[in-house]
Amino acid sequence: MITYIYIERRIIIDNVLANKKLFKADGTASENLKYLVFLIYGLILIIFGLIADSPNRIIYGLYKIIIEPDLLITDYIGVGGIGAAFVNSGLLTVISIFIMYHNKIRLTGATISAIWLISGFSLFGKNIFNVWFVIIGVLLHAKYQREPFAKYIYFAFLGTSLSPMVTQIMLGINLPRIISVPLGAAVGIFMGFILPPLASYLMRVHQGFNLYNTGFTAGIIGTVFVSLLRSYGVAIESRLIWTSGNNLVLGSFLIIMFLSMIMYGIRLDRNSISTWKNIFKYHGKLVTDFTILQGFPATLINMGINGLFATFYIILIGGDLNGPTIGGIFTIVGFGSFGKHLKNIIPILIGVFIGGMTKTWSLTNPSVQLAALFGTTLAPIAGEFGWKYGIIAGFLQSSVALYVGYLHGGLNLYNSGFAGGIVAAVIIPIVEAFRKDEF
């Protein structure tokens, strides 16, 4: 079945590639080709889900995903099954790609990372129901500013990190549905409306050394909002829905996916392996767009290699491949186009590893597995200041990420972005104060 699908996909791709609009006059990949590549990966997620479960179980699983609260950590594989989780992820990926394409957004590293964030977090927190309210809020903000929605599209998609807030109010607090449902919708829309100026402004706090800037912003918003809720007696407790035992099937799927990225990158440009090595010279601080700096083929290779590395990291430490960890892996893959490479993520993981050896928790603790994967938000610190500071950043991040979640009640999916902003805000001024060299 997998072989048949591969051959079918090969035939489709070869026919489509024959269309010259997929390549520019100089032979490099056009925007259409880049979009097609990621559209195919989105479809693959759907197909994988359809293979994993029967249609009836998938439909029921999607229903359960929608009605279940989504605060951290809610593994959709545990809620609705592998099939429903991957169909949810694939659907949101494909829809996001169409929205980006329709708005004529260039497929830069920023776009690619946003798409993969959607893919990953659609396995544990974002679903085909709860994402739209924040997006509508951003759309209303654009209308208010009399600007096209395209200008705010990154805020819209990245801001869906606050989607759990919508379902928590709609379904998780003790109010009649006739009040809680519109209230949840209104809160989601309001969050989206205020997000753009906040996210843009708060970039200054970490100066781009924290790649998940929206996570930092969402953490601030979530902290204020949850504090308000708690002031009125609303209890928000974190939860843990976490699956294990699927490493073989999920690991095989991921490895094939990432190997295909590497192979296709080489197929697009035979010199892309040596171009890929040039990526290591970049620090990774926002904005480091590898599609612009080194080209699409080298970027695809970097994404694939990052994905393989992150997958093997989870497997080797004895961790679990499930919704949240695959979400973390997809984030590393996506940011493989926008700042992350092996040279700047390995020190972060070493820092988390040292933490695992010395602190009270183990590396296979679910929160620590996620802290390691998502802690790579601080990769630019290793890239700019060296591996020692990268290790320190990873060591600190693993603790901060475990304990700041309480502030926003787990309603900010990009918890590591919030923690990363705090860690970066502490480390950067200190390192720069003691650094002697400047221009």
């Binding site: 843009s200 781009g208 904005v287 612009i292």
Partner: protein
Amino acid sequence: MKHNKLKISKIIDELINFCFSVGGTEIGVNIKEKPDFFEIHLSSDYKCENKEKVGELCKLLKCEKTEEMEEYYWHLTGDSDVDTELTLVGMMTDSCNIDITPNNHIDITLFRNK
């Protein structure tokens, strides 16, 4: 607020940071506001050992204007003395002319529509 003039200031900050990073010792900036656009002109010397970095400037500044990137990331321009955001400057400008002369001198002219 659209912060249009603040964005111009930050673009200039970023370019001045770049000139310092390539060893510039004599940097001149001139800004003209026209009815439909801003014209920013910057000139600087540079040290010859930074020739490669100067060459990279052309590639980065000639990025296509990308408004969605500008809206999200513009606050990063001009704020760091450990790294430059020239890709972002390229995405915030509509067109540019770069002239690198053999006597280690750069002339940059950027145009940003209102």
